[in-house]
C-alpha cells in the first residue's frame, strides 16, 4: 500500500466527481426531445454542486466573488430570457466568448500566483497556462466578432485584405515563440505570457473577420469547442478534474458538430476557415449572371390556390425565414392547409440558418411539432411525391447546380432535392443571388414560380388567400 491509499479523498473532489457524472448524464438525456429538458436540469444541478463545493474552499474575498456572481446571474438570466429566438446564435456566441475570456484569465491568475509567491513553475503548469490563455483568448475575441457579424453590427460578408494568411502566420509565430519562452522560464515570464495572450486576441479577431455569415454554423461550433478545450486546459493548470472532464466533453461535442457542419457543406474545415468563401464566389459569379430570364413571378393568391389543392406540401425554410421572423406565419399557413386536408412537412438542411439546428429551434418556437420536421436524408426521397415544395428564404441549399454542374463552386454539397417536387414555390426578397453569390437554376425551372417580397408579408398574404378559398 502506498501512502496515497491511506489518505482520505477530499469531499470537494468527490463533489466534483458527482458533477462530472451529472454533466455526462445530462448530455445523454439530450438524445431525445422528450428527456432533453430533464437533461439540462441534471446538468444545472451538477454545476450547482461544483460551485457550492468550491465556495467552501477558503474563500475570503466574499464581496468580490458574491457581487460578480450576482451581477453575472442577473445579467445572464435576464438577457437570456429577453432575447428573441431569432437572435439566439449571437446570444450563444456571447456566452461562449465570456467562458473563453474567463478561462484565459484563470490561467493568467494562476501563473501570477506562482510568480508572486516565487514558487518555481513546473513545465506542466507553464505549458498548459499558456495553452488556456491562447485558446481562451482566441475564443473570446472570435466570439465577439461572430456576435458583431450575427447582430449585423458589422457586415456578414467576408472581410478580406491583402496578405491575410501571411499576417496570421506571423501572429501565430509570435504566439509560439512567446509560449516557448514562458515554458523555458525566460524572464520576465509574465511579460511573454501577456504577449502570447494579446497576440491570441488579435488572431481571434483576424481569423473570424474573413468568414462569411452563412459559414457561421461552422464557426460557432468551432469556437464552442475552443472554449471547452480552454476550460479543460485550465483544469490541467489548477489540477482540477471536473474542469478537465467538462472541458473535454464540450471540446468533443464542438469538434463533432464542426465536422458534421463541414460535411453538410461538402467542404473541409480549412476551406471554411481560410477560403473566404462568399468573397471569392461573388467575384467569380459577377461576370456571368445569365439566369433570371425565365423567372415566373406570381401573386400570393395564386400560391394559396396551389397549396390549398395539394395533397402534400413540403416547406423548406432558410435564413430568410429567420430574418423575416416568418416562422409563426408559416405555422398558421400549415394549420390552415391541414384543415383542408393537406399534409405539411418541413425539410431541414443541416446548415440552414446561422447555427446547427437553427431552423428547428425557430419552428419549435412557433409551436411546430418536432414530429413534422425531417432531416435532409429522410425527406429527399419524399420530394417526388410532393405536390408543392415551398421554399422560404433558402437558396444555396436548394441549388440543383450542387448536384449537376461540375463547374459550380458548390458542386458536391448535399442539397434538398426541391426540384424533384411537382411544383416549386420560392419566396424571396428579390432576384439577388444567395450568400454564395451563385445563380440558382431552380428559379429558371418551368415548374418554379416566384413570390417576391418579405417572407412574413408574403406568407400572411398566402394565409389570407387560403382562408378565402
Amino acid at each position: 500500500m502506498s501512502v496515497a491509499d491511506k489518505v482520505l479523498a477530499n469531499p470537494v473532489d468527490i463533489a466534483y466527481l458527482v458533477t462530472g457524472i451529472l454533466f455526462i448524464l445530462g448530455l445523454r438525456f439530450l438524445s431525445s426531445p422528450k428527456t432533453a429538458r430533464l437533461g439540462n436540469r441534471i446538468s444545472a444541478v451538477g454545476m450547482l454542486i461544483a460551485v457550492v463545493a468550491t465556495l467552501t474552499q477558503g474563500i475570503v474575498n466574499w464581496i468580490v466573488v458574491g457581487a460578480a456572481l450576482l451581477v453575472g446571474a442577473v445579467v445572464g438570466i435576464v438577457s437570456a430570457q429577453r432575447v428573441k429566438m431569432t437572435a439566439m446564435p449571437q446570444m450563444v456566441a456571447i456566452f461562449n466568448g465570456a467562458g473563453g475570456g474567463a478561462a484565459a484569465l484563470v490561467a493568467a491568475g494562476e501563473l501570477l500566483k506562482y510568480v508572486n509567491s516565487g514558487t518555481p513553475i513546473t513545465y506542466d503548469v507553464s505549458f498548459t497556462s499558456v495553452l488556456s490563455a491562447v485558446i481562451g483568448a482566441l475564443s473570446f475575441a472570435g466570439s465577439i466578432i461572430a456576435f458583431l457579424k450575427l447582430q449585423e453590427v458589422m457586415t456578414g460578408r467576408p472581410i478580406t485584405y491583402p496578405a491575410q494568411q501571411v499576417v496570421n502566420a506571423l501572429i501565430l509565430a509570435v504566439i509560439v515563440v512567446s509560449w516557448g519562452l514562458v515554458v523555458a522560464g525566460y524572464q520576465p515570464v509574465l511579460q511573454w505570457f501577456w504577449i502570447a495572450l494579446v497576440a491570441s486576441l488579435v488572431l481571434g479577431v483576424l481569423f473570424v473577420l474573413p468568414i462569411g455569415g452563412a459559414d457561421m454554423p461552422v464557426v460557432i461550433s468551432l469556437l464552442n469547442s475552443f472554449t471547452g478545450l480552454a476550460a479543460a486546459s485550465t483544469g490541467f493548470v489548477l489540477g482540477n478534474n471536473v474542469l478537465i472532464i467538462s472541458g473535454a466533453l464540450v471540446g468533443a461535442s464542438g469538434t463533432l458538430l464542426t465536422v458534421l457542419m463541414g460535411k453538410a457543406m461538402n467542404r473541409s474545415i480549412t476551406n471554411v476557415l481560410f477560403g473566404a468563401f462568399g468573397a471569392v464566389k461573388a467575384s467569380a459569379a459577377g461576370g456571368g449572371g445569365k439566369g433570371g430570364q425565365n423567372v415566373r413571378s406570381v401573386s400570393a393568391d395564386d400560391v394559396a390556390a396551389m397549396l390549398a389543392y395539394a395533397n402534400e406540401v413540403i416547406v423548406v425554410p432558410g435564413y430568410g425565414m429567420a430574418v423575416a421572423q416568418a416562422q409563426h406565419s408559416i405555422r398558421e399557413l400549415a394549420d390552415q392547409l391541414e384543415k383542408k386536408g393537406v399534409e405539411v412537412k418541413y425539410a431541414i438542411h443541416p446548415v440552414a440558418g446561422r447555427m446547427p439546428g437553427h431552423m428547428n429551434v425557430l419552428l419549435a418556437e412557433a409551436n411546430v411539432p418536432y414530429t413534422s420536421l425531417y432531416d435532409m436524408d429522410d425527406i429527399n426521397p419524399e420530394f417526388e411525391r410532393a405536390d408543392v415544395a415551398l421554399v422560404v428564404g433558402a437558396n444555396d441549399v436548394t441549388n440543383p447546380a450542387a448536384r449537376e454542374d461540375k463547374d459550380s463552386p458548390i458542386y458536391g454539397m448535399p442539397i434538398l432535392n426541391v426540384d424533384k417536387a411537382n411544383n416549386v414555390v420560392v419566396l424571396k426578397r428579390s432576384m439577388a443571388s444567395g450568400f454564395a453569390g451563385i445563380d440558382n437554376p431552380l428559379y429558371d425551372d418551368p415548374k418554379t414560380v416566384m413570390l417576391f417580397g418579405d417572407a412574413k408579408k408574403s406568407i400572411d398574404g398566402v394565409v389570407a388567400g387560403v382562408k378565402a378559398l
Partner: protein, 105 residues
C-alpha cells in the same frame, strides 16, 4: 511528463471519448440546444474563477477578480437559461400549444 500530468491526461482522453459517444446520439433536431447546453457546461470554468479570485492568496486584484468571476457567471447562468428556453419549445404533436410567452418571464 509528471505522473500527475499523465493521470490528468488519461482522464481528459477518456472524457473526450465519452463525449464523442454521448454527443453522437443527439439528433440533428436538437443540435442548437446541444450547442447551448455544452456552452453552459464550459461555464464550469467558474470553479476556477472562484478559486483564483476568492481565495486568501488571490493573485488578481479586486477589479480583475470581479471581471473574471462575472464572465464565468454570465456563461453559466445565461447558458442554462437559454438552453431551458429552447428546450421548453420542443414538443410533440399531441400536446396543446401554450399561449405565447409574455414579456414578464
Amino acid at each position: 511528463m509528471t505522473a500527475h500530468l499523465l493521470t490528468e491526461l488519461t482522464i481528459f482522453i477518456l472524457a473526450v471519448f465519452v463525449g464523442f459517444e454521448v454527443i453522437s446520439k443527439v439528433p440533428t433536431m436538437l443540435h442548437t440546444p446541444l450547442m447551448s447546453a455544452t456552452n453552459a457546461i464550459h461555464g464550469i470554468v467558474l470553479v476556477g474563477a472562484i478559486l483564483i479570485a476568492g481565495t486568501a492568496d488571490a493573485p488578481l486584484g479586486a477589479i480583475a477578480g470581479f471581471v473574471l468571476v462575472l464572465l464565468a457567471s454570465l456563461n453559466v447562468f445565461g447558458g442554462y437559461t437559454v438552453t431551458e428556453r429552447m428546450l421548453e419549445m420542443f414538443r410533440p404533436k399531441t400536446t396543446t400549444p401554450k399561449p405565447p410567452t409574455d414579456g414578464t418571464r
